[in-house]
Structures are given as structure tokens and as C-alpha cells.
């Protein structure tokens, strides 16, 4: 053979491979197995009997070959001539986002998950570990120290946890409240005011937004992460793979006081104790109805979860009894444990969610950040300990909470009251004699220039709507979509703020809304707003 012939053959081989792989990719994407969406086309395109462009004749239903065929309807192309119709729905911006990495249980995940998109391999999980349990322990024994030091470095790069308290301000049980803002500004910006003077697109282009989402640090396992203080009191919840990433001073107090709407005169009914299965009867006998009592017991009774259970599919060294509602919502409030909202697939698309308080939930028409659950009873019924995964229940056991029981849980939840707010009158306005100048100015701003009241109004300072704050205008990332307004009554007791805790202090929430709502508040005005929120 002539030498140039061999070169040509070699070249052909290479070109054939490139074309072949490229073709395979186009065929593969958008199929059930692929995590990459097909752009702008229905999945079952191949089943469409006719080219849609040729079947323009509307209402030709008698056409014999379309009669028995169910085809997937794809959107019509309304383009006119050379003017291309971009369509109203852009599926995603492939160039800017990256596909979720391929992983299995336990493997590390990116901290900047907002930069990723894609679907999961399946909606359903399985209780099978990718390795023997001894290897699982060993794997995490090696991975955890590295992971935690990276988590710490990452958190330190985002926040300046200087642990400076606001002088003279305390949570309802006496824990100091931290001063902010603690989110770090990018190097090129010297003040928050300077940042706020820029437009959203400028902030996005120069990658300057300090309040990007927070991800669960180990999304491949995810599940609940308890605060250090809790784990110290409940070593059975010590995870082999991960610890809390927030310092305790920026989390709610533990144990928090518990207020009953039926016994305002008693103040904190627990007297500073954590309510447990062992002491609940003694604390509450004579205070609760039998229904509430039964509900409380159920709220305290642990049941197995995806990763806290008796099987090998667990993240505790010893088999675990599971987790109870009050293990996160301790004393009907929150200890700051975080989880993923069980509302989406793949897991990596799910928002990290801090445990919200249950106090005053009787006033809420919308429960959970994204699922819009409408009653406490229903919430108790659906609360997805298992990460909403029926695939797990065969191995782990069903929650077995019957509707009668979950209704009782709802009965108990419905009397968990807010902490006292002595400066507020019945219309939830500050009583002028009790409030100082700054707080009054804050209230003025809240109802005026800062427009907070548009979404935070009424007895719980909440409008019971979901809002899309469109925060993705400020950074390149996957949009988080609508999220329910969280109430501000008793807000000083439940840091960190926003669904994922990206605002560790109230000052950060004001900076956040100052940017997102483009309010251009002065630093005095921001301090006043914080002073006001501390009264609620």
C-alpha cells in the first residue's frame, strides 16, 4: 500500500469516530437514560408519524394514519420568514451551566451547585450501598477530614464569622444575636453601598453577588445535618460523613423556649429543658388535651429515615432508631439543622433548606418553601423523612403514620406560639412609648421606602404567597424559582435566614433585599430596619 493511502485511511478512521460519537450523542440526549435534555424537541419525536411542518392542515382528524397513534405534541414553530421565533420557554443555557457530575453515594459534590443543571438517572433511590458497610465507614473516615476542612475554607471564603454580638440584643431564651453583615464582599468592591449602586447585570457580569445559594456540602448523601450542640446532646446523630458547616453562634438557641398559645401566662413551659419522650408527660400533663398530648408524643417518636435507620444504608456508625420531628424542630422551634427540600429531582437540584420554626405555623396558609402544603395535619402526613422516596421504604419501613395520628400531630403543632413581642400593638405596629427612635424609623422604612410590607404583612408578617425573587439576575446560575415568603414574627430567634441560610444575620437579609429589590438604602436605614426586625 502506498504511504499516503495509509495516512488517508488513518484520517478516515479518526473522522469516522468523531462523527459517530457526535451522532450518538444527538440520539442519546433527551432519552430516558440521558441526563442531558434534548433542546426544543419532544422526547418521543421518533414516534411522530409525520413531519409537523407538512401537517399544517388543522383539524384533519379523519386522517387514517393519525387516528390510532398517540403522538407527543411538540410546540408549533410560529416563525415568520426569516424572523425566528425564540419561543417562550428557553429550557436552559447550556453554555453557561454545567451538567451535574456523575456520582454515586458518598462522593463529594461541588459547593457551587447553582452552576449545574441536568436530570437525574432516576427519580427513585435504592437502599443499596455502592460498597460493603466496612468500606463505607473507611471511605468516610478518610474523606470526612478533607471534606470538612474544605467546607470550613469555603464557608470562611463566603462569610466572616467574627462572632460579634449585637450589644443588648438577645433571643427569647437569652442567646446573644450576632451582628452583620457577615457575607464577604468581593475584593473589587469596598462597601455594600458601592455594590448596591451597580445594576443587576453589572453585578452578574463581574460576578460580584455575595448572596449566592448555599449547597448541602455532601449532596450525594444529602439528608439532615444537625448542629454541633445538638449532636453533643444526641451523639446518636453524629454523622460519619459530614458535620454542620455553621458555627453555633449563628444558629438558634438550644434548647429554645417553648410557648403555647393556650398558656401565655406560663411563658416558656419547658423551663429551659429539651422536651423528650422521657419528660414530655411530666412537663405537659394537665396543660394539653389528650389529642395534643398524643400528637406531641408522635412528634417526639423517632422513625427511620433514608440515612438514619437500622440497615447498612446509614450514616451513623451504629444502627439508628431514626429521627423525630422535634429532633430538628426542637421544642417546636428549630435547632438550625438543614436538609434538602424534598421537592425536586435530581437531588442535586433540590434546595438546601434550614429547618423553619413551627412557632405560629397555625397562622400560615403555605407550608414549606416550595411545596405549598396547606395544613399542619397534611404536613405531618407528608413530611418526607425518606427524602420522599418510596423506593426506600421496603427496606427501611414505612412511616406508618395513620391519618388519625398525623391529625393529632397537627393539633399539637397548632398551639405552638410565637415568642412574646412586647413592643407590638394588636395591629402589629410598634407602641411608640416602648420603641426607640431607630426602631420607629425602621418601621417607617418597612412600610415605606423599603417596601418590605408588600410581602411581609399581617399578624405573622407574611403574605402567604410564593414569590420568585429572580435572584439569578445577579449571578450566573440555575434559577431557584418561586419560594414562599417566610414570616418575620419572632424572626430574631431563627437564624440563619432565607431557605438555605445564605444570610447568617438579619443585617445580611437587609443587604440581600436592598440588592434584590434595588432599594438603595443608606447604612443608617439598614441599621434601622434591623433594629425594627429585632422587635417583631
Amino acid at each position: 500500500m502506498k504511504p499516503y493511502m495509509s495516512k488517508i485511511l488513518q484520517l478516515l478512521l479518526v473522522v469516522a469516530i468523531v462523527i459517530g460519537v457526535n451522532w450518538s450523542y444527538d440520539q442519546y440526549r433527551g432519552t430516558g437514560l440521558s441526563r442531558v435534555p434534548q433542546i426544543g424537541a419532544g422526547r418521543l419525536e421518533a414516534a411522530t408519524p409525520e413531519d409537523p411542518s407538512t401537517s399544517e392542515t388543522e383539524g384533519d382528524e379523519s386522517s387514517p394514519n393519525s387516528e390510532n397513534l398517540r403522538t407527543e405534541v411538540t410546540r408549533k414553530d410560529y416563525s415568520v420568514g426569516a424572523v425566528e421565533n425564540p419561543g417562550s420557554v428557553a429550557p436552559f443555557i447550556e453554555d453557561e451551566l454545567m451538567l451535574y457530575p456523575t456520582l454515586t453515594k458518598g462522593m463529594r459534590t461541588p459547593f457551587d451547585l447553582w452552576r449545574y443543571y441536568g436530570r437525574g438517572v432516576s427519580s427513585f433511590g435504592s437502599p443499596i450501598l455502592p460498597m460493603r458497610f466496612e468500606q463505607w465507614l473507611e471511605f468516610h473516615r478518610k474523606q470526612k477530614p478533607d471534606l470538612m476542612s474544605d467546607v470550613e475554607a469555603y464557608m470562611a471564603s463566603r462569610f466572616d464569622f467574627s462572632e460579634t454580638p449585637i450589644i443588648g440584643e438577645f433571643m427569647s431564651g437569652g442567646k446573644p444575636i450576632m451582628e452583620g453583615p457577615v457575607a464577604r464582599l468581593p475584593q473589587s468592591v469596598s462597601t455594600y453601598e458601592e455594590l448596591a449602586s451597580m445594576s443587576p447585570s453589572e453585578i452578574k457580569e463581574q460576578d460580584l453577588f455575595p448572596y449566592k445559594p448555599l449547597a448541602h456540602p455532601l449532596q450525594s448523601v444529602a439528608h439532615m445535618v444537625f448542629p454541633d450542640e445538638w449532636v453533643k446532646a444526641h451523639p446518636e446523630h453524629k454523622r460519619i460523613d459530614l458535620d454542620m458547616d455553621f458555627p453555633s453562634s449563628y444558629l438558634p438557641e438550644f434548647p429554645p423556649p417553648m410557648f403555647l398559645s393556650t398558656h401565655k401566662e406560663l411563658g416558656d413551659v419547658t423551663n429551659g429543658r429539651e422536651v423528650t419522650l422521657d419528660n414530655y408527660y411530666e412537663i405537659f400533663d394537665g396543660l394539653l388535651t389528650p389529642e395534643q398530648m398524643e400528637g406531641l408524643k408522635e412528634l417526639l417518636r423517632p422513625s427511620p429515615t433514608t440515612w438514619f435507620n437500622h440497615t447498612d444504608h446509614r450514616i451513623t456508625e451504629k444502627p439508628s432508631k431514626g429521627v423525630a420531628c422535634f429532633d430538628c424542630h426542637v421544642n417546636g422551634h428549630t435547632n438550625g439543622a438543614f436538609e434538602l427540600g424534598p421537592d425536586s429531582r435530581p437531588n442535586m437540584a433540590r434546595l438546601r433548606t434550614d429547618t423553619p420554626t413551627m412557632r405560629g405555623n397555625f397562622n400560615l396558609m403555605q407550608l414549606s418553601s416550595k411545596r405549598s402544603i396547606r395544613s399542619m395535619d397534611h404536613f405531618s402526613e407528608v413530611e418526607e423523612y425518606f427524602d420522599g422516596d418510596p423506593g426506600m421504604q421496603q427496606a427501611i419501613g414505612p412511616r406508618a403514620a395513620k391519618r388519625e395520628v398525623t391529625n393529632r400531630m397537627g393539633d399539637m403543632n397548632s398551639i405552638l406560639d410565637y415568642p412574646p413581642a412586647p413592643k407590638l400593638n394588636p395591629l402589629m405596629r410598634l407602641i411608640p412609648e416602648l420603641a426607640n427612635e431607630s426602631e420607629l424609623r425602621g418601621e417607617e422604612l418597612f412600610h415605606g421606602k423599603a417596601q418590605c410590607v408588600k410581602c411581609h404583612s399581617g399578624p405573622a408578617f407574611v403574605d402567604d404567597y410564593m414569590h420568585d425573587l429572580r435572584v439569578e439576575r445577579f449571578y450566573v446560575g440555575r434559577p431557584e424559582g418561586p419560594i414562599k415568603t417566610f414570616p418575620l414574627r419572632g424572626i430574631k430567634d431563627s437564624p440563619p435566614y432565607l431557605h438555605d441560610g445564605r444570610c447568617p444575620t438579619l443585617h445580611d437579609t437587609v443587604e440581600f433585599f436592598n440588592l434584590v429589590l434595588e432599594l438603595n438604602l443608606t447604612s443608617q436605614e439598614k441599621d434601622d430596619l434591623v433594629a425594627y426586625m429585632l422587635c417583631l
Binding site: K7, V21, Y25, M98, P101, Q135, W136
Partner: protein, 183 residues
């Protein structure tokens, strides 16, 4: 003359193409997210070796470039030294999961691999093959002189005086394997 040599070099040629094909094909796959079945193992290895300094898509892209380069080196038989260095580096890399992701590659270390572990162990055959194909081009003077222009068949089957084939003094005029490939 040319024809006579064919039997002796055919096997390394096939081997060279086989290596090139596998490297280039499996390398190209890595440019397409979610297409390569080795994605998880490969990216996790690179990420843990770089202390998670590199993210998964960068790691995958770098591997794709590396594997395609090696593949092209084999297929086109060019830059043998560069190919050799990349190849050896890559080979060492492919064995790393056995050390850094032990739990994902063994049922019971070190003698009972799982499917992934077996997939990696088998790369030792790759290593041997690449070595055989490339070494003559990389260290021409150290390699057994297999193919003689003068007397091909004899020099292979019966080295002069029964001396070891590596004894280059005994067979003065030789052509190098690989350089005389007839394809």
C-alpha cells in the same frame, strides 16, 4: 523484500491501531458530558488527586484531551516520544483509583476487585501493549533488533551463533520496527 517483512511487523501494527482506536474513541466520548461510562471513576480520581481543586467537567475535559492526543499519536504514529510520555503518565493515572478510591474498586482489597477494579487491573495489558509498540521508537538503540533488512527470516528465528537477540553487535544492519511498517 517488503512483503517478506510483513509477518514480523503485522502484529505490532494491529496493536498500535487497536490502542489508538481505543484511546481516541474513549477519549472523544469524554468531550460529551454524560456519554462516557468511565466518567465517574475518571473524574473522581482526578478530583481527589488534585484535592478537589479541579471540578468534574474540567477534569473530564483534560482527560479527554490527553486520551485523544495519545490516540492520535498511536494511530498516526507520530511524535513517539511525546506519545510515550503521555501514555505512561495516563497509564499510571488509570491505576490510581485502586489507591485513592479503594472502596469503589475492590470487594476486598487487594486481591478481590469489583467490576471497576477488574476494568482497571486489565490495563496492565494496555501497558504491555503500548510499551511494545512505542519503545522501539523511543529508545531505538536499546531495543531488540528484530527485523533485519539483510536476512529477515533467519535473524528472527535463529539469531547468529545463538546469541541473544539483544546483542546488537552481532547484527549490524537492521531496520527498526515501527519505522518500516508497510501499512
Amino acid at each position: 523484500m517488503e512483503k517478506k517483512q510483513t509477518p514480523n511487523v503485522a502484529s505490532p501494527t494491529f496493536l498500535r491501531y487497536a490502542l489508538g482506536l481505543v484511546y481516541f474513541h474513549f477519549g472523544i466520548l469524554k468531550f460529551f458530558p454524560d456519554l462516557s461510562p468511565a466518567e465517574m471513576l475518571a473524574t473522581q480520581t482526578v478530583m481527589s488527586m488534585t484535592q478537589h481543586w479541579m471540578d468534574a467537567s474540567t477534569a473530564l475535559w483534560c482527560l479527554a484531551v490527553l486520551e485523544c492526543a495519545i490516540g492520535l499519536g498511536f494511530i498516526f504514529n507520530v511524535l513517539p516520544r511525546v506519545t510515550f510520555v503521555l501514555f505512561i503518565g495516563h497509564m499510571i493515572g488509570t491505576f490510581m483509583p485502586l489507591f485513592v478510591l479503594t472502596e469503589f474498586t475492590f470487594k476486598f482489597a487487594p486481591f478481590a476487585p469489583n467490576v471497576e477494579g477488574q476494568y482497571i487491573f486489565k490495563n496492565i495489558v494496555f501497558l504491555a501493549a503500548g510499551w511494545t509498540v512505542l519503545l522501539p521508537n523511543v529508545f531505538p538503540r536499546r531495543v531488540p533488533r528484530l527485523v533485519s533488512t539483510a536476512n529477515t527470516d533467519e535473524s528472527i528465528s535463529k539469531p547468529a551463533n545463538g546469541a541473544p537477540m539483544t546483542d546488537k553487535r552481532k547484527v549490524p544492519s537492521l531496520r527498526l520496527q515501527g519505522h518500516s511498517l508497510p501499512v
